[in-house]
Subunit: 344 residues, 2 copies
């Protein structure tokens, strides 16, 4: 019998936890009724969790509850928080993963603390110089993997090459029927553009480009991130963080103004009756909850950070992401990719 | 009598020139019929320009035509193009400005060449270490000035402080009734976030913050660029370029998908009849032609670059921008701001 996919979930992090966490798990169980290939290891205050689970009538032998003595506070600074982090629900998740009892960890808690704890417990992969935060971003043909989204505000060319290997492996694990096409984010598409770091990384990526690894497509500009020609976008954590948040802000600005326009008078409000289903489909496609979950790559095991402010539907999507990453055998894909890289 | 605002326009740069340039000028003349406080100095192939002007019946004593022997090609590299740039329409504009016969220059031609020529002829202001490209960007309450959009891919803290002074002066010249509120683009809003360069620049800007200079609001994240709390956004040219283009790409992605949703079936197409005027207003607000024109700051005179691919309406908006910049006395505002900066 094949080993079950085992997901460690921190039940106590983020706004409105553990309620949204448990409701998110319920959505996941409902969606995957027919499957029997996973188990969820839930860490938090046992009594509260049991009460809540009983209340919504969710008891299932696919969920195991582990009691944790304390909780990482959402607004504590990483360095002070880490000192007191032992035996928190977050710490226990990662420790469980290190012990080989979970394949992946998921938390909606304090990002900085999660990154520090994950790195401390799981340790970096030997072949990787810096870890990276990867995210999903819609494009015209499907989905992009974008990294680094903020783990490292300064990166050298080796970091960027590592990110390309890690990001392509993540893409292959999530979308096994598609080819990863890598691009480096830059201020122009010509070879002469950008910093020396980008030029060196671009040269290395061109050498590594191959059918069974990833196809390197060269530089990409911000306006083409969503065009769908590339699906693995590589950048340093400063630029990636600004780009992602700018896209979020722009989307919010536009949809807010659209909504305002469509409800400002009687005639335009009538239009909503006729376009209801079309607008709903449009809204669904852009729903940020579907892209919830940043993946921490480069450690000896994957860790996923859910947005702290997301609701239960958003949290459901991050559980689904964890499931797909392990189903797609991320760690083997990473090892395959890094083997290519190191043999050049 | 007050001196007239004098705008030097390169009639030959960008796609479909000089037609769109001349039509853009016609829009500007029509919109400003009642004013008599400006003159346009038009540089290009005299015969072609005269023919076109005659054809659309636009002859006006507010336009003076100056013959230029040659043209800067749109796709030539700056360093080779500059050698042959003398006596081009672009060169003649900037030279006219240096000679004190124009207050500002405008071209839709080759950006790299325009930057090099402008810097070569007009020279940097003594007080400024690097020039910057500034642009306009809509926000929830009005308009942002954002810089640098790509003139310098690497910047130190002094450059960022200069950009804040230059950008605030530009804001004051364009929106004399509003106060410039400066923010530094970063990956978080807390003091500890970002690079050492940003931390030092932030400290300096806090010292310079004052009612008659600009109000420094601290760090801003990408998702708040359009929130309207700040209106002068400062960043290095790499990040600024990526952020601007990412916002453009996101806006395009969303409006394309919205259009698709609203036309995909009969029922949703009916809705357009009812929402036509609301959607038109929405589209007008986001129309990129209204934000056409990047302003080159830090030289002994302002130069405006229109998008090369923009149409005549877009070009009209960049003429209007030039007019407003000079009307608002940009160069005096810059000198006032820099005086504050240097006395700290």
């Amino acid at each position: 019998m094949k080993k079950k996919i085992s997901i460690a979930i921190d039940a106590m992090g983020g706004d409105n936890s553990p309620n949204k966490i448990i409701e998110g798990i319920k959505f996941f169980l409902d969606e995957n009724k027919s499957k029997n290939d996973f188990v969820i290891n839930l860490f938090g205050k046992e009594e509260i969790l049991k009460q809540k689970i009983e209340k919504i009538n969710m008891a299932s032998d696919l969920i195991k509850i582990y009691d944790s003595k304390s909780i990482v506070s959402d607004d504590e600074k990483p360095l002070t928080a880490v000192k007191n982090a032992k035996n928190t629900s977050m710490w226990n998740c990662i420790q469980h993963q290190l012990d080989g009892k979970s394949d992946i960890s998921l938390s909606a808690g304090n990002t900085g603390v999660l990154l520090v704890i994950s790195r401390m417990i799981l340790k970096m992969m030997n072949e990787v110089s810096k870890p990276a935060l990867a995210g999903l971003w819609p494009n015209q043909n499907g989905m992009n993997v974008v990294l680094d989204l903020g783990a490292n505000i300064e990166c050298n060319d080796q970091n960027l090459v590592d990110f390309a290997e890690l990001g392509s492996a993540l893409f292959k694990s999530l979308f096994p029927n598609e080819k990863p096409k890598v691009s480096l984010l830059n201020v122009g598409s010509e070879e002469m553009k950008g910093t020396e770091t980008l030029k060196t990384a671009s040269k290395r990526l061109r050498e590594l480009s191959s059918e069974d690894n990833f196809i390197y497509k060269g530089y990409i500009e911000g306006n083409n991130i969503m065009s769908g020609d590339s699906n693995v976008i590589i950048t340093d954590g400063f630029t990636g963080n600004v780009a992602l948040k700018t896209a979020e802000g722009t989307a919010k600005f536009i949809t807010k103004n659209l909504k305002k326009s469509l409800t400002e008078n009687f005639i335009s409000r009538i239009s909503i009756i006729f376009s209801y289903f079309s607008l709903k489909k449009f809204k669904d496609k852009l729903d940020p909850r579907k892209y919830n979950g940043a993946i921490f790559l480069g450690l000896n095991g994957p860790v996923v950070k859910s947005h702290g402010g997301i609701d239960s539907i958003g949290f459901y999507h991050s559980i689904d992401l964890c499931y797909k990453i392990i189903k797609g055998d991320l760690m083997s894909e990473i090892k395959k990719n890094l083997r290519h890289s190191k043999s050049v």
